[in-house]
Amino acid sequence: MKTDELIINMGPVHPSTHGVLRFKLTMDGEIIKKCEVVMGYLHRGTEKLGEMKTYLQFVPYTDRLDYISAFPNNYAYVKAVEEIAGIEVPLRAEYIRVLTLELNRIVNHLVMLGSLLLDLGASTMIMYGFRERENALQLFEMLCGARMTFNYIRPGGVREDMPEGFIPKLNEFIKDMEKRIDDYEQLISGNEIFLGRMKGIGVMSAQDAINYGMTGPSLRGHGVNYDIRKIEPYSVYPDIDFKACMHDGCDSFARYMVRIDEMRESLHILRQVVDAMPEGKAITYAKYGIAPITGAPTAASTYFPRIFAPPPGEVYSRIEAPKGELGFYIVSDGTIKPYRIKIRSPSFCNLTAIPKMVEGLMIPDLIAAFGTIDVVLGDVDR
C-alpha cells in the first residue's frame, strides 16, 4: 500500500503547549518522523529593552520571563548585577531570598504537575495543585503585594522586610504541604494509567541530555547529579543541608519523580531557613557610583540606590531555577545602563532536546514528554 507522510501543525494555540508554541510534525501514520519547533509568538525583545533601562528598572521585566516562578528570575538577574557592581547583601536578605526561591520552586512544580496531569487527561491534580499554590501565592502577596510579578528581590537585598505574621503562616503552609505531597504521590505515582503513559516514554540517554544542553530537574531525571546550588553554591545554600534530587530512569517518569522529591527537599530547606533566619537589615547600599535621583530623595531612595553605574566588565552568573540553569550575561560599559543583557533561559535550552526526544513516538507521547520538560513560553521567547 502506498503511504504518504503527513505534516501536522500542532499549535500555536493548543491546550497542551502551555502557551503559544507550534510543533510542525511530519507524521508517518501515527508515528512522529520529524518534529520541528516553531516559536517566537511571545517574543517581546526583553534583551533589547534591557539595554534601554537602568539596572534597577530592568528587574520588573525579569518577572515576565518565567511568570510561574518570578522570584528566581529576579534573583538570577540581581545576582549578576551584584557580582558586576560588587554590591554586598545583608545575611537576612539572603535568607529571605532563599525562602522565596524555595517557596517558588514548590509553586512551579505544583503548576508543572497539574498541567502535566491535565495534558494526560486527569483533571484532579490541577485542582489540587492550584489549591496549594493559592496558599503560597497568598504568602507572596503578604510579602510583596503581588501574586505573580513580584519585583521583590533588588540589588543589595530585598525590597522590604517580611511583614509581621508571615513566618507563622509559612509554617502552616509547610505543615500542610508535607501531607499534600504524600497525597499527590498516592494519587499519581502508583496510578497504572499514569505509569503506562510515563514509563519508557521520552527516553534520552544522559549523554544526549547533556549534549542537548538540558539542565535542572529535567537533566537530573537522567541520572546526572548536577545542581548549581551544590556545585557552584551561591547565597546561603552552603550553610543549608539538602541534597540534589536525582533519578536515573532517563524517561518521563524519572523527570516527574525528580519534581516530587524536589518539593520535599524544598520544604526541608524552608524549615531550616525559618529556624536560622538572622536579625538585621534586609537591604544595603551599593558600593559603586551611587548617583542620587534628581529632585528630592523619597523615603525609598534612602534605603537603596535607584541609579548606579557598575565598573566596566562582563559577567555570566547562573542559578538553579526551578526549570534549570537560568543565567544572565551582563556587559557593563561603566554607565548607568547595561550595554548588553543576554538571558540564558532554562525553558529555551531544555526545549532543544524535544525534537530528538520524540522521534518515533506518537502525538500523545509528545504531549507527555513535553509536559515533563516543564516549559513556560514567556521564558522560551523572551
Binding site: 517566537g40 542537548y212 544542553g213 566588565g313 562582563e314 555570566y316 543565567g327 548588553r340
Partner: protein, 166 residues
C-alpha cells in the same frame, strides 16, 4: 591548572590572549581556529555549553561561549572577535547539539553567521524581518507587521498590507 592556560599551551598560535571573565578562565581564540580549539575543550571534559552570547561593540562583534565541565566542575569561557562587516564564525553544532538553537538565536538577534550550521534561520523573529534587533545600529523607527499566512508561515510587511483580509 587553569583550563584557559592549558588551551594556550596546546594551541599557542590559536590563542590570542587569556584572562578572566569575573572569576571564570577566559581564552580569546582566533576565529579560524575556533572549531579546533572547541573540539579540544570538549575532549578536556567541557561537556556542557551553557550559553552563546553575541555582542555588538560598534566596530566589532564578539561571540562568547560559556562552557562547564560536569566531570571537573570547572568553567571555561571562549571568545572570538569578529569584524563588523559580514561577521561569520564556525558553528559548534557538530560538537554540542545545544548550540543549534543558541546559534540560531544569535544569528536572529545579532546577525552573526555560523558557517556549517545545518539549519541557520531565524528562530524568535519571523523570516523576512528586517534587521537584527540587538545590533546597536538597529533602526527601531521602522514598524513591522507580522501575520500568519495561509500556509501557516509568517508574513512580514512594513506598511501593514498583510493585516487586511483579502
Amino acid at each position: 591548572m587553569n583550563p584557559a592556560e592549558e588551551i594556550k599551551q596546546l594551541f599557542p598560535d590559536s590563542v590570542l590572549s587569556t584572562g578572566l571573565q569575573m572569576n571564570k578562565p577566559l581564552a580569546i581564540i582566533k576565529k579560524e581556529e575556533l572549531l579546533k580549539v572547541a573540539q579540544k575543550a570538549k575532549e578536556m571534559g567541557f561537556d556542557h555549553l551553557s550559553v552563546i552570547t553575541g555582542i555588538d561593540y560598534g566596530s566589532r562583534f564578539e561571540v562568547v561561549y560559556n562552557f562547564f565541565s560536569y566531570i571537573k566542575k570547572q568553567n571555561l569561557v571562549l571568545k572570538v572577535v569578529l569584524g563588523h562587516e559580514n561577521p561569520e564564525v564556525d558553528s559548534l553544532e557538530s560538537l554540542w547539539k545545544g548550540a543549534d538553537w543558541l546559534e540560531r538565536e544569535t544569528y536572529d538577534l545579532v546577525g552573526i553567521k555560523f558557517s556549517g550550521h545545518p539549519n541557520l534561520k531565524r528562530i524568535l523573529l519571523p523570516e523576512g524581518w528586517i534587521g537584527h534587533p540587538l545590533r546597536k545600529d538597529y533602526d527601531m523607527s521602522i514598524d513591522q507587521f507580522v501575520t500568519i499566512g495561509e500556509d501557516g508561515e509568517d508574513v512580514v510587511s512594513t506598511d501593514g498590507s498583510n493585516l487586511l483580509r483579502k
